[in-house]
Amino acid sequence: MGQDLRELFFDPNHPTMLGACARAATAAEARYRVPYPNSATRASRVFALDAGAAEAMYAITEEPWQGAHFLTLANSGPVDPETTGAADLPLAHPDGSAADLMAEIDGADVVVLLASSGENEGAAEVIAREAYHRRIMSAGLALAGGQSDRAVDRTVNSMRRFATVLVVARDNDFIPAMLTALRA
């Protein structure tokens, strides 16, 4: 019987050594993982592209984020990406003070675009264009709560060309969940 068990469970060519998976993956070994901060603070830039997105964003800006900047478009008029340069995009901080897109985006690690409608595809393009030039990932979050499929499609389509990741969320509470997961 003992012989059989050895044949079943142990390969003589692969004995279980101190550094082998059988030991290394145990709960007991987990406490020897090196305790240190394995990442530096990220620079996340969150842009609300419309009034609905701004309202959802304002609800969470006071939470203790790790350096995330929250920005809105200072007026809700459509932006023509052909004629609007980065310096021309009317951005604002939550306190209403003006923000500069290039200053915000320089050195950013991730750009998050929030939209609850498809009304500002032009602004999305201007922001994403700057992010693309700097090789910064752009994630789009379409807030779909209470909207028709058609309206959601319009929102999604407004960001599809620019976002490396696009999420359609039914509830606004996904915004803090996502930003927390991304260490924003």
Partner: protein, 428 residues
């Protein structure tokens, strides 16, 4: 990253835990039907959601799933005699029926009715497809029986296996919705595995290692779309459905059978990885079925007589560094299933998610956790039954398709992503 309290919430499934209660709202796979092949066959030990149980098929063909231990002195009923419509403890002859009701206490006068006062915890066990399913929750909230397509097509169209995975269910399940690892970890197998190779879609997978993701909520869970470049500006889409709490399907390749998984907690540090293959419109060929038995595709080879993979952590998963150098296997581990399992087990029994650094392409995982947490808390605090129980939530398929750039998959592939009896899977 995930806060420790949320990680604990999602990974703990013993009785009385919030996620444990959530799993108990569903029919979950408990055994392969072939583990109880005939009436009065040997009973089988089963551990699910932190509960030690014994499964048996009585003389009348009724399946039972009851507390493993005799109510008299705590003997394991694995040693029991399965005979004459019940499972009898060999120690003093106490006998239980398929519901766990004690029906004989030989030492007591039959007229006393004493045995009526003894009842082991028992759960229903039903056969749907190749699988015996159980519902471990309140019978007043029992959902309709499972309607997953892989379990309801004709027997010759489907094959199911299970393997013991030595880590928490959540880190195993998260691998099932993490589409971006395929182009790396499984890149060698896409060229050689008989259940994967040869599909045109594989070329897109290998040519574009930076997929773009779209995550869309469905009533039962999520659709996670991965988009890669195809010809003439078109996109190659692969859509993975996830249905709560732990059902996933792999997007199909060519006319190969469609694969998928259930990830079911054994306890907090072990889970069952259930793997199925089926074809919606034709019988599996002899070659396909043999490949599955031989451990190809999402299946695996076993330590004989067990459900433990032949490649396991005791033998370093038979790591082959030469095969890695030759490019046959990106990680040096043979087989798609064990390529995944080896890495997921290496994280430790329950990965510490406070230390992880997710990136935006991990949004499928982020959203799945978010929905699990909400459902779990909703059930715990308000008694709201979670998504994924309704038959219509289970009528999903994975799909792969090339689309023009301006067509959202959610609309263009709406029909492809639902079960259509008699219609084959949408695949490239």
């Amino acid at each position: 990253m995930l806060r420790k309290d949320v990680n604990d919430l999602l990974t703990q499934t013993d009785p009385g835990t919030a996620m444990g209660e959530m799993f108990r709202q569903y029919w979950i796979p408990a055994l392969l039907a072939k583990e109880l092949p005939e009436d009065d066959c040997p009973p089988v030990r089963v551990k699910l959601l932190g509960e030690r149980l014994i499964a048996f098929c009585d003389s009348k063909g009724r399946y039972g799933l009851i507390d493993e231990f005799c109510a008299h002195r705590g003997v394991s009923l694995w040693f029991g005699r399965n005979e004459e419509a019940g499972l009898r403890c060999p120690y003093h002859g106490w006998k239980y029926d398929y519901t766990g009701q004690c029906i004989e206490v030989p030492s007591e006068p039959e007229e006393s009715g004493f045995c009526q006062k003894i009842k082991l915890k028992g759960y229903p066990l039903i056969k749907v497809g190749d699988v015996l399913w159980t519902h471990m929750g309140d019978k007043d909230n029992r959902p309709p029986e499972p309607t997953w397509e892989f379990a309801t097509v004709a027997p010759e169209q489907t094959y199911t296996s299970k393997r013991w995975q030595e880590c928490n269910w959540l880190q195993a399940m998260e691998g099932g919705i993490d589409s971006s690892h395929v182009s790396w970890l499984h890149s060698g197998s896409l060229k050689s595995d008989p259940l994967f190779k040869g599909a045109r879609g594989n070329q897109y997978n290998q040519a574009d290692k930076k997929p773009v993701f779209e995550v869309v909520e469905s009533d039962g869970g999520l659709f996670i779309g991965a988009r890669r470049m195809a010809e003439e500006g078109h996109y190659y889409w692969r859509i993975t459905p996830w249905v709560m709490p732990s059902f996933t399907m792999v997007p199909p390749r060519g006319d190969h059978p469609v694969h998928g998984h259930f990830w079911i907690p054994v306890d907090d540090e072990n889970c069952w990885a259930w793997s199925f293959d089926y074809h919606p419109t034709r019988a599996l060929t002899g070659e396909e079925r043999q490949a599955m038995i031989d451990g190809y595709g999402v299946h695996n080879q076993y330590v004989p007589g067990t459900f433990r993979p032949k490649q396991n952590k005791d033998n370093d998963y038979l790591m082959d560094r030469e095969a890695q150098k030759r490019g046959e296997s990106y990680s040096g581990i043979w087989g798609i299933a064990m390529q995944d399992a080896s890495l997921q087990e290496s994280m430790g029994p329950i990965v510490d998610r406070t230390r992880e650094n997710l990136v935006s392409t991990d949004n499928g995982i982020i959203m799945a956790r978010h929905r699990l947490r909400k459902a779990c808390v909703g059930l715990r605090d308000k008694g709201t039954l979670p998504p994924g129980r309704a038959p219509e939530h289970q009528q999903v398929r994975s799909a792969a398709r090339v689309l023009p750039p301006d067509e959202p998959f959610k609309e263009a592939m709406k029909d492809d992503l639902r079960v259509r009896p008699g219609v084959k899977q949408t695949s490239v």
